[in-house]
Amino acid sequence: MRRSNRRGIPHGFLMSLPMYLFTLFFVLAPLCYMVILSFLTRAEVWGVVHEVTLDNYRNILTPVYLKTFYESLKLAVICVVLIILTGYPFGYFMAKLSSTWKRRVSMLLMIPFWTSALIRMYGWIIIFRSNGILDKLLMGLHITKEPLKLLYTYPAVVVGMVYALVPFMIFAVYSSAEKMDWSLVEAARDLGASPAKAFFTVTLRLTMPGLLSGVVLTFIPSMGLFFIADILGGNKVVLVGSLIQEQLMKARNWPFAAALSVVLMILTSLIIWLYRRVTKVRDLEGFY
């Protein structure tokens, strides 16, 4: 379908030219600059000096920052595990619903999915706040005597993260469970496999692309969503994302922030690459 206009330029190219240019100027160029910046030196007062150095990367290897990476990864792993445990059954059960209910449930999921995570976090502040809803409820039921003071703690951040990201897992698992051939599970059952065995050998394997896609879609943001850590964790929980933000806005050490971003970017690409290697799927399941 390559047709040319009178001057011989394919019109398809003319049409995509704005996107080509925009992508070149505002995606590729800034990305390249990030990489360059990460090798430059910070100026005494403000800005950068054009002096090539590896110091920014060396800086990441100091115990303080390594620890942030470690803590952030740990939090991400905890969150992803909890997201799998809550989101996978949901997506799986959802795929078994009748088509009317499927439509209803996915409509219901749309709203939390598209509304701002920031706003939804505010609801959790109301719940977690000292003497807030949760404390009132627990003390009313005589489960606890004192207010739990959950706001600004590690568990609060975990809950916030899981809450914000679980819809991604649900949609990813749902879209692959939906496509699954359930007769295979029946066949396994007919051949004498227990429900658990049928699940682990057939269902789980067939929904693996969705599950892994969900992991990619939730693991990456859970290292970067600094505002959740900020709002629900006070300054107790520091993510790689929080560190980048702090270096950019407060410490004004842009080259270091760039180096941190490059590392995070490499980590991200590595995860996506691994996903593609394992599942041999190009696009992420359940993702546009």
């Binding site: 398809g12 709203i111 706003i119 290292m223």
Partner: protein, 259 residues
């Protein structure tokens, strides 16, 4: 039979937990009392306060302008891009497609950071211009993917028939392709608008000292002092998102779960 009941119970329970924080915000926005854990009776006073808050009006105006400009820009660039890309076979196509989708693939914080440093490098003054560019960048993928999906499901022979009858490629685009993909474009635009209206991470990095958007204002207030006014504001934003997402769903005629 029992397993089916359990699965429905589980779905119901998770949905209740999902909606709980959202409902609380809505309920407390009508709370007379200033202390959020005490119910002091029904009141509209926080909405009244919002109505008279000048700084808030400014933020609302900025957010609406920003959302409108960036979703329109994304609609033009993304739609032309998707249609154009479907007609060409250039070797760079895959790479450009991949790169243009990056803004919604990489962590938001990195996107914010690269824009901030890049805009500083090229000397763009931070404010509405930088906000629009940054928001357009993450809005394009939504429009592009919607239109691309729509094009893939379309009957190419319609366009070919128009061409064979002597229509120019641009004529084909405006008279045949565009009317057919219009629902997808609209649906992508609405989602972009919703995303732009909600964005806080990227906006924080590329905004100037003068330009506040709604989410930035909400974020700073959440960090400093909470006022019930935020409840009212959040409720309004939830309502707007709800309307936009529903409209987009109707126009797109597709479930979110579809890849």
């Amino acid at each position: 039979m029992r397993r089916i009941a359990f699965s429905k119970l589980y779905i119901g329970l998770v949905l209740v937990i999902m909606y709980l924080p959202i409902l609380l915000i809505v309920i407390y926005s009508f709370n007379e009392s200033k202390i959020s854990s005490v119910w002091g009776g029904f009141s509209l006073k926080w909405y009244e306060m919002l109505r008279t808050d000048r700084a808030m009006h400014e933020a609302i105006k900025n957010s609406l302008i920003l959302g409108a400009l960036s979703c329109c820009a994304a609609a033009i660039v993304g739609t032309l891009g998707a249609v154009g890309m479907s007609r060409i076979k250039l070797r760079t196509k895959g790479a450009v497609e991949y790169l243009s989708m990056l803004p919604i693939m990489i962590p938001e914080i990195i996107l914010g950071m690269i824009f901030m440093t890049f805009f500083a490098l090229v000397g763009l003054p931070f404010g509405m211009t930088t906000l629009v560019i940054a928001h357009t960048a993450f809005c394009i993928p939504y429009v592009y993917m919607m239109v691309k999906a729509r094009l893939a499901g379309m009957d190419a022979s319609l366009m070919e028939a128009a061409r064979d009858l002597g229509a120019s490629p641009w004529r084909v685009f405006f008279d045949v392709t565009l009317p057919l993909i219009a629902p997808a474009v609209m649906s992508g635009m609405l989602l972009s608008f919703a995303m732009s209206l909600d964005d806080v991470v990227i906006s924080i990095f590329v905004t100037g000292a003068e330009t506040n958007t709604l989410p930035i204002k909400i974020y700073t207030q959440m960090k400093t002092g909470l006022t019930p006014e935020i409840n009212a504001l959040c409720t309004i934003m939830l309502g707007v998102t709800l309307i936009i997402v529903t409209l987009s769903g109707i126009l797109g005629g597709r479930k979110k779960g579809d890849a």
